[in-house]
């Protein structure tokens, strides 16, 4: 055996194999380590890694709840939120910015430069346009900004948002106010009740996609997002509309610069209608800032003669009687060298009672009365009525007005305040003061919300009324104010047939900003009043600023008051009494109609004795009313006995059934109003038969069956 030979054979591949094996083992070990590490990462909790992962695909998204709806007192929608889309962009992902800006400019109407500027911003998110309309969406599809599958081109996306819509446009716009582009209240009730209306904005966890857009949100957490609550107002949308129509029409006929009307329930302080002109449409987000002001609470004015009612209240509170006399100085009176005159130079009053001072609106008598009362007593009454302090109406921007201090009340100022100059009040303060007169002396807090909608108990406390004078003073004041609308008074045009109207005219001079003196051309004409002896007690305030031509309240504000009262009486079912359509008496009208043969047909029907019955009935219990088509209608009038029992009582113990033949159901109901009969109507047309027959006595709850046939 050779010495250089090895005892075993060396395989030349052995080294390679060993190296390969080692390499393989190494790789397996590394792989094993990786797998172990991966398993560890996947299986065992690691807060640091979890945080890193969450940052990559988790995000927090703000969810805006649906803004609450605003309703009127009858559930009519006044403001509602609808879902809408807004266009946003990620400028980094947009490819042909110039072309896109050009196309978008055509669709959404924004300048191309402006859009291009936004697309060139170095941000990941820019708004292109908020609240895209349906027409614009259709154009997006037409211009292939949105493809057939509903996806937008790269770099653009649509964000779901909420838009506030006012379905009645300008109706009650001053009350409702407005919201900004993020649906946050910025004016009016939208601002005052913003917290309640907007609900609870919440951040919800969401999973985002590669572009960073939230895709899936935590639905369980999203359920906790509280939508905005509805708000119910005290206003009546239909009445509000009517009132706005009347004010617009009066503004046009008098060429006034602005105007305000307030309709308020004197017992509860609920505002049934409140309107100002000029106005605005919150849907368009346009309009002069001046037109957006709710002048009824944010603007002060010198009330003029309407303030004489407060002076009279002060006099009554200090022991004066309605018939106590003041000397009118025959139209010529000076205080501290300044001449005080009556509204008309021809008015020269001698001794005049307090009642007549109100009726004829004597400035000199008012000035002298204020001076006789003295600053302390008069000031105390003014403060008692709440002037100089806010009424507490839940509405932003209310001012408190300005009442002269005790020191400022020189004899001249005192005399001026007596007839409503030199004091700053708001229309709402005046309305509230007159409400106290009609409701028996209770100073109510005006409100715009139904009780359930008040924010907290503090606001409910504010609502509590305080009694400022006894009931007998209220009666004296109503008597005096009622004279204003009677013959010789300044407020005759405010009188509405069928109602006893109490109120006061006011034609106040305005201060000329240029000369800083009272202008002889600029006036505020106002009328505040109410219907007497009816429920509910409704106070109406109307004012017109700077009427041209005829500027006296008698000629401008009083007719507007009458129109508003007519609407209020219809909507609030104020029971009119003694409606006589013309100055002719009922029997004269009947005689006229008999001559003209208009009454023919009234007596036709089953078991009827004709027109004779009508005559008999008209003499006993039914008066006659002339309808618009000149047809004579019988109407129940309380008898003398009824009057003794109480003028307001319209329920006689027995009622004689009249002939209803030939009358339409509307005319029948007109006759039967005020009673509690059950009426059954069969057929259509006019009354052809009736049970009970003419002459039978009926009591409340009895049934009247009518058979109708085509005439």
């Amino acid at each position: 055996m050779a010495a250089d030979t090895l005892p075993f054979e060396i395989n030349p591949d052995y080294g390679t194999k060993a190296r390969l094996t080692a390499l393989m083992l190494f790789c397996i070990s590394v792989a094993g380590l990786i797998i172990c590490r991966a398993a560890y990462v996947q299986i065992f909790s690691n807060p640091k890694l979890e945080k890193l992962a969450q940052r990559q695909y988790h995000t927090q998204t703000l969810i805006r709840p649906r803004r609450g709806t605003i309703f009127d007192r009858n559930g009519e929608t006044l403001a509602v939120s609808i879902e809408t889309k807004s266009l946003a962009a990620n400028p980094g992902k947009v490819q042909n910015k110039f072309l896109l800006a050009k196309t978008l400019s055509k669709i959404i109407g924004l300048p191309q430069k402006k859009i291009l500027l936004k697309l060139n911003e170095e941000r990941e998110f820019v708004w292109i346009k908020r609240h895209i309309t349906d027409q614009e969406m259709a154009k997006f599809k037409k211009h292939h900004i949105i493809d057939g599958l509903g996806d937008l081109i790269s770099g653009l996306w649509l964000v779901n948002e909420s838009d506030r819509v006012y379905p009645h446009h300008q109706l009650a716009s001053h009350l409702l106010g407005d919201v900004n582009v993020d649906s946050e209240g910025i004016e009016g009730i939208e601002l005052w009740m913003n917290e309640k209306l907007r609900g609870q904005i919440g951040a919800v966890a969401a999973i985002k996609d590669a572009l960073g857009r939230p895709t899936f949100i935590d639905t369980a957490a999203a359920k906790n997002i509280r939508d905005g609550e509805p708000v119910h107002l005290t206003i009546d949308a239909s009445l509000q509309f009517e009132v706005e129509q009347h004010l617009r029409s009066a503004m046009k006929s008098t060429s006034s610069k602005s105007g305000t009307v307030i309709v308020m329930n004197a017992d509860t302080g609920e505002i049934l209608a409140l309107t100002n002109q000029p106005t605005f449409n919150a849907n368009t987000k346009r309009g002069q800032p001046d037109a957006r002001r709710n002048r009824a609470v944010t603007d002060g004015y010198e009330p003029g003669s309407t303030f004489k009612a407060i002076l009279a209240a002060s006099a009554f509170l200090n022991g004066w009687k309605s018939n106590d006399q003041i000397y009118g100085e025959l139209g010529s009176f000076s205080v501290q060298g300044h001449k005080i005159s009556e509204a008309e130079a021809r008015e020269k009053f001698g001794w005049i009672s307090l009642k007549k001072m109100i009726k004829y609106s004597s400035n000199i008598a008012a000035a002298k009365l204020a001076m006789k009362l003295g600053p302390d007593k008069f000031l105390s009454t003014i403060r008692l009525f709440g002037f100089g302090t806010k009424t507490g109406i839940p509405f932003p921007g209310e001012i408190s007005g300005r009442v002269p201090t005790r020191k400022q009340l020189t004899p001249l100022t005192l005399a001026n305040v007596g007839f409503g100059q030199g004091i700053l009040v708001t229309p709402l303060q005046m309305t509230r003061a007159y409400a106290a007169i009609v409701n028996g002396g209770w100073l109510v807090s005006p409100t715009l919300f139904k009780n359930a909608d008040l924010k907290n108990s503090k606001e409910r406390e504010i609502q509590a009324s305080t009694r400022i004078f006894p009931h007998y003073i209220s009666r004296h004041l109503i008597d005096a104010l009622e004279e204003v609308t009677k013959e010789g008074g300044t407020g005759i045009p405010a009188a509405l047939p069928g109602f006893r109207i109490a109120g006061k005219t006011g034609t106040a001079q305005m201060v000329d900003k240029r000369t800083r003196r009272y202008s002889r051309e600029k006036y505020i004409a106002s009328f505040i009043g109410f219907a007497v002896g009816v429920e509910p007690k409704i106070v109406i305030y109307v004012s017109l600023t700077e009427p041209k031509g005829k500027y006296y309240a008698t000629q401008t504000a009083a007719p507007l008051f009458r129109e508003v009262l007519a609407s209020v009486s219809n909507y609030c079912s104020l029971p009119a009494h003694d409606i006589v359509p013309s100055k002719l008496l009922a029997h004269q009208l009947l005689a006229q109609q008999q001559e003209q043969g208009v009454g023919q047909g009234l007596g036709q029907g089953v078991g009827l004795s004709g027109l004779k019955d009508e005559v008999r009935i008209s003499q006993s219990a039914v008066s006659l009313t002339l309808t618009s088509d000149n047809k004579l209608l019988p109407q129940y009038q309380p008898s003398a006995a009824d009057d003794k029992a109480g003028a307001g009582d319209r329920k006689p113990s027995g009622w004689v059934m009249p002939s209803l033949a030939g009358l339409s159901p509307r005319e029948v109901f007109q006759i039967l109003q005020g009673h509690h009969f059950k009426v059954e109507i069969h057929g259509t047309g006019v009354v052809a038969g009736q049970i009970p027959i003419v002459g039978n006595t009926l009591a409340d709850g009895d049934v009247i069956r009518l058979k109708l046939q085509d005439p």
Partner: protein, 98 residues
């Protein structure tokens, strides 16, 4: 044991196929259900939007302004005077709902 070893490939393959199909089916079911959920969510959202739009339309249709125009122009009506309006009183024994 030898027999088992011999036949392992035979039962392994169908089992694998079964589980594979099962996995794919489950995956598809998940995708389909997710799609259905998304569709339903979209439908709910659309229905909500429709409801809001209809509410708005209803409010606009009931608008006093529109009523006024319709009454005056289409039906040739005019505002009644005070004496033409009959106020019906609610009967004492009549329930609120009636």
């Amino acid at each position: 044991m030898l027999i088992l070893k011999k036949w392992i490939p035979l039962w392994t393959i169908p089992t694998l196929i079964f589980f594979s199909i099962g996995t794919v089916w489950l995956r598809l079911a998940i995708v389909r259900t997710t799609y259905d959920i998304n569709q339903t969510s979209r439908m709910i959202q659309n229905s909500r939007k429709n409801r809001e739009n209809l509410e708005l339309k209803l409010a606009a249709l009931r608008s006093p302004q529109r009523m006024e125009v319709l009454a005056r122009k289409k039906f040739k009506l005019s505002q009644p005077s005070t004496e033409q309006i009959v106020h019906l009183r609610k009967s004492e024994n009549e329930s609120d709902g009636g």
